[in-house]
Amino acid sequence: MRIFFHAERCMLCQSCVLACQMNSIGVSEVTEIPRDGRPLQRMAFIFSHGTPWVWRCQQCLSAPCVEACVTGSLRHGEEGNGVVHDRETCVGCGSCVLACPFDALTPDENDDRVTKCNLCPEEEIPPCVKACQSGALAYQDPRLFAQDKRKKFVRDQKVHRETD
């Protein structure tokens, strides 16, 4: 399971980022946000050539960061589910930051460690996906994600033909 992003459905509202930040400081309601909160940067919203993109860890299956990690605090999750980062053993050496092709690991501002998206294992659906109102973020198996795309493709094709 991973987080996928449908750029065409995104309404640029950035609720996902807010939800991620709120999760990182441990609040679930916007009214509870403390004034001096310092959230972790695990997800961000960027524009790339005019297309919106939700920047986050891609949870690579043979992740360079895991190979680069000197303490073994980055490892692959069970059943190939994501890359797990263990805060306790992380020494913040930054090797992973150098290795990651997506720059998805950032220094944790609160201490000398790095942080990354861990797919919020304590939740059934990651809060960012839950916060997305337009369905632009999807928490899915890559296989199902591709399958849905194919289905959409076939449906579009058929509609196109029927209206020809």
């Binding site: 509202c13 950035q14 980022v17 807010l18 939800a19 309601e29 009214t31 946000i33 959230p39």
Partner: protein, 367 residues
């Protein structure tokens, strides 16, 4: 006005919206200033968080009120047509009519026609966008007598012209950060407009059509009648918006009544409109303004204007859903702290969107 109404009433769905940061005022799209970016954060338009929240609130309140004003001006037109033709189509009930006449400072011997002419003239004056600050208007001072609503006069929150206030609010841009408070005061003024226009319209409708909705005022007065002779220290009013489903309200009432048993008296009200009448009734009964008695109104309403209106009637207010103001510290402080110092009653912020803890907190402070 219609457009503002449509845009203004939408309830926020995302986190930014709940915080009051969901700005849609420029066509470049939402800036989504993060609450974590602190004071330095500025949107595309150059506004900081506080201004943005305040302006958004103003837009919401004004948009909503604009709709109500439109109804009032229609009602006034009807009244004009009718006043010339002498009297209502349907004769109004005597008891209610008496109540209405008294409210405006008339004795019951005055002819309905004369009263109608008075109402027409004064409300036209209030509605005119060109009417100057010749305040206080005699109509308003009879509806909101100084004894019952002293805070309105002390802080000059009583509006003079209804329409120009709205135009003013929707048209002008104020960029200095010191203007936040001015904007918020305007919010309060406008939400009063909403209450005034609704009440006026109701009374006019009653005169012209014999509309039964004025009976609701009686309900509010009955509530006051039922209160014990000594002013209670703490009363919680549970106020419901018309749009909310019955089921939801009855569930909330039941739950709150259970939890507040032995702590405070709980009085459910079926609509917002009775609140000014209750203010007047309190004064008549105990010669005390509401904000002198620290009564709390728990308002269940989608509309911020109603919430602020309740505040202007002298109640301390807790609302569900909460006002979209968590995004700005300044705005929150204004409503929750500054107002208390000035008016004696204030907004009680339901942390986490939960009403009950907020009520308990309020009660605990008072007890």
């Amino acid at each position: 006005m219609k457009q503002t109404e449509e845009e203004g009433i939408k309830s926020p769905a995302c986190g930014y919206g709940l915080m009051g940061l969901c700005c849609s005022s420029c066509l470049l799209g939402p800036c989504r200033i993060s609450p974590f970016e602190g004071k330095s954060a500025k949107g595309l338009c150059g506004d900081n968080v506080d201004l943005m929240v305040a302006k958004n609130l103003l837009r919401l309140v004004a948009g909503e009120t604009a709709g109500g004003l439109k109804d009032l001006s229609e009602a006034v037109q009807n009244l004009g047509a009718l006043a010339v033709k002498q009297g209502a189509r349907k004769r109004p009930g005597k008891a209610v009519l008496k109540g209405i006449l008294e409210k405006y400072g008339f004795t019951s011997r005055v002819s309905v026609n004369r009263f109608a002419h008075y109402l027409l003239r004064e409300s036209q004056k209030l509605l005119s966008p060109f009417s100057g600050p010749e305040s206080p208007s005699p109509l308003l001072s009879s509806l909101y007598p100084e004894g019952a609503f002293p805070h309105v006069y002390r802080d000059s929150l009583l509006p003079d012209s209804l329409t120009s206030l709205i135009f003013d609010a929707l048209g002008q841009e104020q960029n200095e950060s010191s203007a936040v408070e001015a904007i918020l005061r305007k919010c309060l003024k406008i939400s009063m407009v909403k209450f005034i226009s609704e009440e006026l319209r109701r009374d006019i409708d009653y005169l012209t059509d014999g509309d039964q909705s004025s009976e609701m005022e009686k309900e509010a007065l009955d509530v006051v009648q039922d209160l014990p002779p000594e002013p209670l220290p703490v009363v919680v009013f549970l106020v419901r918006d018309d749009d909310l489903p019955e089921e939801f309200m009855s569930r909330a009432t039941k739950e709150l009544r259970q939890r507040l048993k032995g702590i405070a008296r709980l009085i459910p009200l079926n609509n917002m409109r009775g609140l000014p009448s209750i203010g007047r009734g309190f004064f008549r009964k105990w010669s005390l303004p509401v904000n002198g008695m620290s009564a709390l109104a728990a308002v269940f309403s989608q509309s911020p204007a109603s919430v602020l209106g309740a505040l202007m009637c002298g109640f301390s207010v807790v609302s569900f859903p909460a006002l979209p103001i968590h995004g700005s510290e300044v705005v929150e402080r204004f409503f929750c702290k500054d107002l208390k110092e000035k008016l004696g009653s204030a907004y009680v912020h339901p942390r986490g969107g939960e009403v009950l803890p907020a009520i308990l907190e309020f009660l605990g402070e008072k007890a």
